[in-house]
């Protein structure tokens, strides 16, 4: 060990002790409670998605003539293909749920307030990336709903004034769904968005560590005694155990509810019952309620407000001297999202 250790030390001028000190972030005690670690869950699921995604890409063939058949082959013929595919699909679902829950906990603890505004906005980018990954991934299967989902989404882009038409053409690689479209979506899904996401996650965590996680004192905790525990190995072990539990949960879901496959995309018939994935139910309902441009621009506005919420909140607090207004906004927002999702699910 000593010999090998010295060999490396002579070549790499880093000391293990220093490295450990640098990276060993003290974790505040409240992180022993799992709901404070919800941010770690999407990170773990993201790794699951990278691994299963790379595996799926070994068999998946991104072209209109082959995509559907290759997914069928993954599901029915490839060894454990159904398992890998179903885990990928379930981890995507859980990831979106975990990101949303994580964002809600950040919101309701007002952890986005100064100095954490930048990390809130990075978090918003992560949320959008996750939703886009879900959407582009779903389009790869090239079943009916994949095709019509892409068609509707690209026409949604088209309704945006001035730049909309160009965005649509860039997305589809033509005027409408064509032979270039599926490879664009595949590259977005399997290369561009994941890379973007890795960079955003790195930034997110770097900033988090620079600022420290916002700390809380719980009533049932002793005032005295250490306020922190070590990231390594304590917190890492916790995360590894949580991760294994997640893998078991994913496997159970994958076995009980494996990913199915619909009918092949048909540009000539839109199926009678068309619904996006559950996480787009609110925007789907919005589109039914309001005519095209109104619906699209108002959704864009809502996302924009969410983006700059830390600053809006600061202005409200300054103007009214009332600190808890955000709670009411948050409750209204959550009720609306949950209500719209349930409404669409039950209809």
């Amino acid at each position: 060990m000593g010999v090998i250790g010295n060999w490396f030390k002579e070549r790499l001028p880093v000391s293990g002790v220093e490295l450990a000190e640098l990276t060993n972030e003290p974790v505040p005690n409240h992180m022993r409670r799992w709901w404070w670690c919800l941010g770690g869950t999407p990170a773990y699921l993201f790794v699951v998605q990278i691994v299963t995604g790379i595996l799926l890409a070994m068999y998946y063939q991104p072209a209109p003539e082959t995509a559907f058949e290759s997914v069928e082959r993954i599901t029915n013929e490839v060894n454990f293909g159904w398992y890998i595919r179903s885990v990928h699909k379930w981890a995507a679902t859980l990831m979106i749920a975990a990101v949303v829950l994580h964002q809600m906990r950040v919101y309701f603890t007002a952890a986005y307030r100064k100095p954490r505004e930048i990390n809130w906005m990075i978090g918003m980018c992560l949320l959008l990336c996750t939703l886009l990954l879900g959407f582009t991934g779903y389009s790869l299967v090239f079943e009916q709903l994949s095709y019509w989902g892409v068609t509707v989404a690209s026409n949604i882009c088209d309704t945006v004034p001035v730049v909309g038409g160009t965005i649509k053409q860039m997305l589809l690689g033509g005027e409408s769904y064509n032979e270039n479209t599926i490879s664009r979506f595949f590259i977005l899904h399997a290369a561009v968005l994941p890379t973007l996401m890795v960079m955003l996650i790195a930034l997110h965590i770097a900033i988090l560590r620079l600022q420290g996680i916002s700390e809380l004192q719980f009533e049932d905790e002793p005032e005295e005694g250490p306020k922190h525990f070590d990231f390594f190995p304590d917190h890492l072990y916790t995360e590894l155990i949580v991760g294994l539990v997640l893998m078991i949960l994913l496997s159970t879901l994958a076995t009980l509810y494996p990913a199915g496959i619909g009918t092949h995309a048909d540009p000539l018939t839109t199926p009678e019952h068309i619904k996006p994935e559950w996480f787009f139910y609110p925007s789907f309902l919005w589109l039914k309620w309001f005519p095209g441009t109104v619906a699209v621009l108002s959704s864009g506005f809502i996302v924009f407000v969410m983006f700059i919420w830390p600053f809006i909140d600061a202005m409200i607090v300054k103007a009214t001297k009332y600190k808890d207004f955000y709670v009411w906004v948050g409750i209204a927002g959550v009720l609306m999202l949950v209500g719209m999702t349930l409404w669409e699910a039950l209809h």
């Binding site: 019509w148 068609t151 690209s154 860039m170 000539l268």
Partner: protein, 178 residues
């Protein structure tokens, strides 16, 4: 202003004359500006090549419209409808309403919903075209009667038809061969 002082030191000529200093800092700023512009336009040019590569090369295959053969009159009865796809990819539903034997027997509507582009289909029992995506509905002439298309006042576009020698033709976009 330590940087100013450092610059003055590293550039000994006229080091303590204030007007010379001003001139030099002006030149320094001016050349940084040009350097910056050069870098931005250089890299910007490569970025523009990437964007143009991604932009579909033939923005549209659709050239001028022309008369295109659909079917002979004998093979479509009153109440029947058929789907026609032009070489440029336009989709039309052609329905026969009468048996007079001329173009006025037919209605040719684009089957692409003007809302967000799903395919409408004919619902004979309700005498309407229906779009399942967001519940848009259209009367037999293509006018929107329900859903987001009605709210936005969008109708299904109509195609022109003609009959020659008992053959039905539609005027639709052609695709160029180049």
């Amino acid at each position: 202003m330590t940087s100013e002082a450092e610059k003055a030191e590293s550039c000994p000529v006229d080091g303590n004359r204030s007007d010379g200093k001003d001139r030099r800092s002006f030149i320094a700023r001016f050349s940084s500006l040009w350097m910056g512009l050069g870098l931005v336009s250089g890299y910007g040019y490569f970025a523009s090549i990437i964007l143009r590569f991604l932009y579909p090369s033939r923005q549209t295959n659709a050239k001028d419209k022309s008369w295109q053969f659909v079917t002979d009159l004998g093979s479509i009865k009153q109440g029947d409808s058929l789907t026609f796809i032009s070489p440029a990819g336009e989709k039309a539903v052609i329905t026969r309403m009468n048996m007079k034997g001329d173009a006025s027997d037919f209605i040719a509507l684009s089957s692409v919903c003007p809302h967000l582009g799903c395919q409408v289909h004919w619902e004979a029992n309700k005498n309407r075209y229906f779009c399942p995506c967001h519940g848009g509905a259209f009367d037999p002439s293509g006018k929107a009667t329900a859903g987001p298309p009605k709210a936005a006042g969008q109708s299904l576009p109509r195609f022109t038809l003609k009959v020659e020698n008992n053959l039905l033709y539609i005027r639709a976009k052609t695709k160029s061969l180049v």
